[in-house]
Symmetry: C2
Subunit: 371 residues, 2 copies
């Protein structure tokens, strides 16, 4: 069998694949990203940083044409974390062929991971791993087959008498149900925390935050908040009963939490505080805040009576990057609530509106929720 | 809570996402694909068909610049199925921003799905769905954390006393463990077959066909056959014991099958026929064939004694598209084996070296294996 002749098309594939893989960007010891790209007849090739300026060291770069005809670029120093970018070839905005592709900005987008010398909590380690399950269901709310991702902790299949708390975890605008695992590495964060005994094992449900009302334009999927409660209906009337019916969950209110980032943070606040009968913990990362927080009136006055709030909710958790323009508002909200006696906690790592911040937020949150 | 103000960055994301989504290609009633693309300063935009000519109606197309500055293209009639393509912008080969992105050709690549008026067996339907699980494991063979995908049939979690046969299912060159679900829709094919009572429920294990020997160059991952048996070692010594230890499998030889497409077909033949103690069924789709099949000597003479072969293997299944240049070889092999009395079956739908063929092959194979 050793001499088996693979069909020619395989070899063509292999050679092509190898040639393309040479375009993979690298990160040097100074945390500069290095690109080399084939664009034989282009007049101008740019890298467009879709994050804040310092994430990739500048908002935009021009590639230079080398003597052998390749377009090359070495960026300024980049900030650790995973950053969105695109390239522009004579004005056409596309992904970079050799980079990892992730769903963000409403489409498949390039990202680059800049290693962090100080943080490794989100890297895969040789510890017991949980699973990430694609769970398909026909939604009566939206009348389409939907997919959500479910993280089940290590050992879920081993002892079938154990039941687990559940976190409903939402992505940001333009992203999808893939965000928290592909960009956020939430499964590795949980595996590592559980292995160290720092977090209780729990189930995580990640659905797509967009829901289109049957018979209406697709526009609605970009209006998850506002006057149309379709996504809230989907979560509370359809998703939760399905999850409780399909997995070994602890289905009481105190063992159910909702959290989201950015747009998903607004959804978590809205759904979580509209349904005190369902959720015992509510959390938002970089979303749903206000420039001026009014304790008496914010969120329909839910924080006004701290004792009442604390009887209903075990924890209200707030996360935000220090470099975000919403940081003062989010931190201010937390400070007011803390002073007022609300059960609350805050996670504010260095960073912008970006996944590295939300990874840290999740790492902090996971150690408090369900404790 | 209805009036909650989402942070500005969400709105920017949303608007950007919507603008980009307008570039999504459509397929008209004549099965022509229609593209509209922004490339303001490009001199030349091409669509490059990465499949056979008739898949997308031509090997290459030039986009035309419309009066409003958009680059537009309506292709010739396309063949139903899912086809790989890329675009060239002034010679730079990249993906098409609005299309689905799939891992093939060693990188993320554009694909377009041309609906088939006659076939719907691979579409999601309102039937009970199995799950697709990402299963992470630290591989002692390769000394890295690997990921395989596991299809568990509908109801797997309901009755924990039922055990299932297992199919090990491999992708083609340049693809990954994602291929059989993202491109192949194997989970929907199985869900639909099981709902109709046409196939027995079984578990499917899809690992990545590339394995790099620790301490060697990444080159080895492109040499899965040949003299380095690393991937075979990984499957037989590490993957199978792990799967049998992690899932409710029927772990006897007759309830274990191996199948692959193209490069994966060569791997399935090699591993399956080298390990008669492990596999009761072997299958190849469009791979591992020879131009001239010699019954006496092929595959180390394993087919020579038909009775002996049939005592060991329940089934040897062969699939191939009628338009493939290897079709005469694959069909000739099957005809010889059939005539010789080998337990064999063949699936030869209209099509080239492409996923639509392998979807049909899998649909046919799933109804025979483990019966």
């Amino acid at each position: 069998m050793k001499a088996i002749i693979l069909v020619c098309i395989c070899l063509i594939n292999i050679l092509s694949a190898k040639a393309q893989l040479m375009q993979e960007p690298t990160v040097n010891s100074e945390k500069r990203a290095v690109f080399e790209f084939n664009a034989p007849n282009a007049k101008e090739v740019k890298l467009i940083n879709l994050s804040d300026e310092m994430a990739l060291g500048a908002k935009e770069y021009n590639f230079e044409k080398s003597s052998d005809g390749k377009w090359i670029l070495t960026t300024n120093q980049c900030r650790p974390g995973m950053h969105y970018f695109e390239i522009s070839i004579d004005g056409a905005k596309v992904t970079y062929p050799g980079s990892g592709h992730y769903f963000g900005w409403g489409r498949w987008t390039s990202m680059i991971e800049i290693p962090d010398d100080k943080l490794d909590f989100y890297l895969p380690k040789n510890v017991p791993h949980g699973e990430v399950r694609q769970h398909f269901y026909y939604s009566t709310t939206t009348q389409v087959t939907r997919k959500c991702l479910i993280y089940t902790p290590p050992g879920y299949d081993k002892d079938v008498n154990v039941s687990y708390p559940v976190l409903y975890l939402q992505h940001g605008a333009g992203e999808s149900e893939l965000g928290w695992t592909m960009q956020g590495k939430v499964n590795f964060i949980m595996d590592n925390l559980i292995a160290e005994g720092k977090a209780k094992p729990f189930i995580i449900v990640m659905d797509n935050g967009y829901a289109t009302r049957p018979g209406t334009e697709a526009e609605h999927q970009y209006n998850p908040g506002g006057s149309d409660n379709l996504f809230a209906d989907l979560v509370t009337k359809e998703l939760i009963p399905m999850i409780d019916g399909s997995y070994r969950t602890l289905s009481d209110q105190k063992n159910r939490a909702i959290e989201g980032l950015s747009m998903g943070g607004g959804q978590a606040l809205s759904i979580g505080f509209d349904h005190p009968e369902l959720f015992g913990t509510v959390a938002t990362f970089s979303g749903g805040g206000r420039a001026k927080f009014e304790l008496e009136t914010a969120n329909n006055g839910i924080f006004k009576d701290a004792d009442q709030f604390n009887k209903t909710y075990k924890l209200f958790f707030v996360g935000c990057g220090t470099l975000e323009f919403i940081y003062p508002g989010m931190k201010g909200m937390f400070d007011s609530l803390k002073k007022h006696g609300i059960h609350t906690a805050f996670s504010g790592p260095l960073g912008s509106h970006e996944w590295q911040v939300w990874r840290v937020n999740l790492y902090d949150f996971a150690q408090l929720v369900f404790k």
